[in-house]
Symmetry: C2
Subunit: 110 residues, 2 copies
DNA sequence: TATACTTACTTACATAAAGTAACTTAATTA
DNA sequence: TAATTAAGTTACTTTATGTAAGTAAGTATA
């Protein structure tokens, strides 16, 4: 990969958002704090990748993991302020899709 | 991959934008019509993947390919109206990155 | 005229990322 | 005791991406 002329902050942002599932995970968490298995089933991601992504997003300061020491232990993931700040991005994507994406007739073969 | 409860248009939009390089290619083309080798060098993508992406984006109606029958032939890629409509999305990403992404001290080892 | 160079790709191969399924650990319920 | 749930992890397969070289058509250079 060669050097580019593009703003490195912007590139960094894209390298996060470009990753498969990142957008959907953030979108899902905009609904509020959630458990691992809930995110998994809501967006249809595999546990293997969800685990990986949540770690990445935590490292980026976008997601926070909270352990509630009840019995049984409860773990919840939520957006940080930085993560919540992505809402306008997701809103614009939604807006674009409303205007420009025609509904898919085939909802992905099973 | 399981079924989800998420709006299919939005999912479709994310499946396009989630793909590596899509954002940068659209961003680059927001500067105007450009040739293959120019995009290639500006964003640092490999020719192999650029070729693949441009075909995908053409199929999605986001990019258009124009052949100018000069000699030697000139081929230019540009955004369609649908593609140009992605500008606010990119702007929000830029805005987010300005506020929340701290500059990387290591600009990727060579 | 032969050689090298440019553009817009494609092909072959190597490595990285994602999907699938089974397993783990601890606690809970039937 | 056996089965279930949550939150992962591990091993293995498939897909995506990167790298480098090749191609075809035309251009410039020696």
């Amino acid at each position: 990969m060669a050097d580019t002329n593009i703003c490195p902050k912007f590139e960094k942002a894209l390298s996060i958002l470009n990753k498969r599932w990142t957008g959907l995970i953030v979108f899902q968490l905009l609904n509020g704090s959630q458990r691992f298995c809930n995110i998994e089933s809501e967006i249809g991601i595999s546990g293997r990748v969800l685990s990986e992504r949540l770690k990445d997003l935590e490292k980026e300061g976008i997601v926070q993991r909270k352990v509630y020491d009840e019995t049984p232990v409860r773990i919840e993931y939520s957006l940080t302020e930085k993560g919540t700040a992505l809402e306008p991005v997701l809103n614009e994507i939604q807006n674009w899709s409303d205007h420009w994406v025609e509904p898919q007739e085939e909802p992905v073969a099973k």
